[in-house]
């Protein structure tokens, strides 16, 4: 116990002077106190919330840009304070780094204390056992030595550690158990650190890439072949697993039974693929899909998106083929109204088509829309452009047309040329520029490829964490003291039950079942004594 001494009132309060070391030590003690840990935890919870309110660059960059465009002033201020990158912002990092330091500062001394506690003997029984909150007394019809032996046997059967008997204290037993609680607590807090370290490993050495792959095309994994590639700071792009993959067939189904918002919701989404683990390796046929990724060593392939690609072929005015084009269209709504661009660099001047693909065409008042995501009445609506497809050679999206140096063609009636094609249709381009044939609709799969070396360590540390947590919350740290009184001593008459027994318990933390526990020990002792008697 520490006692606070108060000086007489008139004495001036003298503050001890803290040197630099003193201050550092004071700060360290503050940081590693339970109170600070609590504050930091609450701060962490509060700090995580803005990331769910405002769009995040790490999750959906276009939505961030849109938000800033719609709310210029607010957006600028939010951006300045990192509210669009909450989980990589300095203030969020400050909180969890302080929490980590606090955690380390907490774990190390506690581990030392626990190590010593596990090797120390339980303390002696206090003088007056009935002063303890949980206690019980009874009388037994056996000699004190028999009762004591039974008590020891019962306590050790309950895995309590018993203090060695001492001179003058032969008739009391002091015991302690539940050291596993503290072990669980340490394991839990250490695994918390391990989880954070593993996440960091995955961040530093992990990468994530995306590619859109139409049915029938073969993709070989290389840094340059992906549509997007995000690498951690310490990733060597040469180490990317060189597997290859061809989607032979994509099976997609949509809800047709239920009405309301459920109508048209996706129901099945699965790819049959031919893969090779590395160049020259044997081909394998594998099925994968949502919730069922493909694995190539430490790299996994996920099927996350899908859509339609059109197959069109174009001829010029003389009827010479300018090529057959497989063009993915990007879905814009739940019914897969999709936009895309068909680019014909071989035409002279160059030709470009831009428009929408509608799997189930319907003419609404506002214009053509798609009514259902499946292919009920597929149609392609295109505008035709002529000019330079790649002005200045700048990189551009394959899904849009850069019309800076292009002009939309007009028909003989001086209207903008619009084409409506259904699969199998052929249409003349205005001004004898040739024809376009809509040959087929196929599907494409949007693949996400991920390599995360922290994945398995995170999993293992989380499972250990859960184990530590359950242990620390279920095991109770308890001290149990028993004192036996000789016949007559405790005021017991010369009756049958003449040996008095007092049991008391102390628990660390809240332990509503302590009294129950003591009562059960008493019952066990009574049974043990009784069986010994009859034996």
């Amino acid at each position: 116990m520490t006692q606070t001494k108060r000086g007489p009132a008139h004495e001036p309060i003298t503050q001890p002077r803290l040197g630099l070391v003193g201050w550092l030590r004071w700060m360290w003690r503050q940081l590693t106190s339970m109170r600070t840990a609590l504050m930091l935890l609450m701060l962490l919870a509060v700090a995580a919330v803005p990331g769910s309110i405002w769009p995040q660059r790490s999750v959906d960059p276009p939505r961030v840009n849109e938000f800033i465009r719609n709310n210029p002033t607010l957006g600028e201020w939010l951006d300045r304070f990192g509210f669009f990158d909450v989980y990589s912002s300095p203030w969020f990092a400050a909180i969890y780094l302080l929490l980590m330091v606090s955690l380390i500062g907490c774990i190390i001394p506690r581990a030392g204390v626990h190590w010593r506690a596990m090797r120390a003997l339980p303390p002696r029984a206090p003088r007056n056992l009935t002063r303890l909150e949980a206690h019980a007394t009874t009388e037994l019809s056996a000699d004190p030595e028999v009762v004591l032996a039974a008590t020891r046997a019962v306590l050790s059967r309950r895995r309590l550690r018993i203090r060695r008997p001492e001179e003058g204290r032969e008739r009391e037993v002091a015991s302690e158990g539940g050291y596993l609680k503290e072990t669980g607590n340490l394991v839990f807090h250490i695994s918390l650190l391990a989880v954070i370290v593993s996440v960091a490993v995955g961040h530093l050495w992990g990468w994530r890439a995306e590619v859109i792959l139409p049915e029938g095309e073969t993709f070989t994994s290389q840094a340059g072949r992906y549509d997007t590639l995000q690498t951690g700071p310490w990733v060597d792009e040469g180490s990317i697993d060189p597997f290859s993959l061809r989607i032979d067939r994509l099976d997609v189904e949509f809800e047709t039974d239920a009405g309301g918002a459920q109508f048209g919701a996706p129901r099945l989404f699965e790819a049959t693929a031919t893969t090779t683990a590395e160049p020259g390796a044997p081909e394998q046929e594998r099925v994968f899909g949502v919730n069922n990724p493909l694995h190539f060593g430490g790299t996994s392939v996920y099927l996350l998106g899908n859509g339609y690609a059109t197959v069109t072929s174009v001829t010029d005015g003389e009827g010479t083929s300018l090529g057959t084009f497989t063009t993915p269209f990007l879905p814009q709504d739940d019914n897969y109204a999709s936009t895309g661009a068909i680019k014909i660099p071989a035409a002279d001047p160059q030709l470009g088509f831009y428009g929408v693909f509608l799997p189930t065409l319907r003419f609404a008042d506002a214009g053509p829309v798609s009514d259902f995501p499946g292919l009920v009445d597929p149609a392609l609506l295109l505008g035709v452009y002529e000019g330079t497809l790649f002005p200045g050679g700048r990189p551009q999206s394959v899904y849009t047309l850069d019309t800076a140096q292009m002009e939309q063609l007009v028909t003989e009636e001086d209207e903008l040329s619009r084409l409506l094609l259904r699969p199998g249709d052929t249409m003349e381009l205005p001004g004898d520029r040739g024809t376009i044939v809509f040959e087929d609709v196929i599907r494409w799969g949007g693949l996400v490829v991920r390599h995360d070396p922290g994945r398995i360590p995170v999993l293992i540390s989380s499972i250990v964490l859960l184990g530590g947590l359950i242990t620390m919350l279920t095991v109770k740290r308890r001290r149990v003291f028993v004192r036996v009184t000789r016949p007559g001593e405790g005021g017991g008459g010369p009756g049958e039950r003449h040996t008095g027994l007092t049991i008391a318990g102390l628990a660390k933390g809240s332990d509503p079942n302590l009294q129950d526990y003591l009562d059960r020990i008493v019952e066990d002792i009574e049974t043990a004594v009784a069986t010994k008697d009859t034996a």
Binding site: Q262, R267, P293, S462, L466, Q515
Partner: protein, 322 residues
């Protein structure tokens, strides 16, 4: 394909459960009225008497036998027992409703907000019913049936979704593992929140020195506080498991175990708030009263996660079905 007859039967079972719950709730309210006035009239001399009597009963009396303060007969528990029996019926009806819904669509009925809410309500009732079998929890009945009725009412009125098949991202064994444990731990937190509020109410009344009848029928404030803690230390590991299982599933379905999606953020926030509650309780210098407010805050976060995040925040977890 969806079997509409079974789907309709499921709806009827849920309505029936709600009717039964209303009856149970009224009976439990009657129970509190009867035992509360008795508890008060018995302790005209001091509030302490009522407290210690109920309180030490809660602590499951030591070997030294309790002597009742007066020889007056214990207040009638008839209303409470009726309430409990009707609650059991309501529980069975709700289980039947969920089973029929699952049969009607041949999958685990955990695929949209309506189904999550009904499952959470069912687990709340199951936990309470099972608990009341082992311990005297008649005084808690009103505070369990009331929130369950509110949950079911919201589910029926605002989140109702026709029985139908799942979207592919939900079609996984992890749906069953992750969502059933999540709804179970939400159920425990609902009961935990009710207990926390009861403790706070009783604690405040005791400080003011004026304990109204219905509060007098409850266990003493220290034992209410202990029961509150006890239910949260079951809920917290379950929520931790929910978090881990969700991450495993996200890894399989989306190729990353953690992406700070709004739903993930809130699962994390809830976890941290309850961790803070457990910490606060172990921190010397923090009165249990202050700590308990954190448990209430945790339940508030669950509510936000469930209503606002599910319906208004854009993210990967767009499963509300509405």
């Amino acid at each position: 394909m969806t079997n509409q007859t079974l789907a309709q039967a499921s709806d009827i079972a849920v309505w029936a459960s709600m009717v039964l719950l209303t009856v149970a709730m009224l009976a439990f309210a009657g129970h509190l009225a009867v035992t509360g006035t008795r508890a008060r009239s018995r302790s005209t001399d001091a509030q302490a008497t009522a407290d210690s009597a109920v309180g030490s009963a809660e602590q499951s009396g030591s070997v030294a036998v309790l002597t009742p303060p007066e020889v007056e007969p214990a207040p009638s528990r008839r209303w409470g027992v009726i309430g409990l029996q009707v609650t059991w019926l309501a529980t069975f009806a709700l289980i039947a409703g969920i089973a029929l819904r699952g049969l009607s669509v041949s999958r685990a009925p955990l695929g949209n907000m309506y189904e999550f809410a009904v499952a959470a309500a069912m687990f709340t009732l199951v936990v309470y019913s099972a608990w009341a079998l082992r311990k005297d929890r008649l005084w808690l009945g009103l505070f369990v049936t009331l929130p369950v009725l509110l949950i079911l009412g919201a589910a029926k009125l605002s989140w109702y979704t026709e029985a139908s098949q799942l979207m592919p991202s939900l079609n996984s064994i992890w749906l069953v593992i992750h969502v059933s444990v999540a709804t179970l731990s939400v159920a425990l937190c609902v009961i935990g929140c009710a207990l926390a509020l009861l403790y706070l109410a009783k604690d405040r009344a005791e400080h003011k020195g004026e304990v109204p009848g219905w509060l007098a029928a409850l266990p003493s404030s220290p034992s209410l506080e202990r029961i509150t803690y006890g239910i949260h230390i079951v809920a917290f590991p379950l929520w931790t498991f929910t978090l881990i299982a969700g991450a495993i599933w996200a890894e399989q379905a989306w190729g990353r175990y953690w992406g700070w999606d709004p739903k993930e953020v809130w699962t994390f926030v809830i976890w941290v708030v309850y961790a803070a509650y457990l910490h606060a309780r172990a921190t010397s210098g923090w009165h249990p009263r202050k700590a308990t407010w954190l448990a209430v805050a945790g339940a508030g976060c669950i509510l936000i996660n469930y209503t606002i995040v599910n319906t208004f925040f854009v993210g990967w977890h767009s499963y509300s079905g509405i």
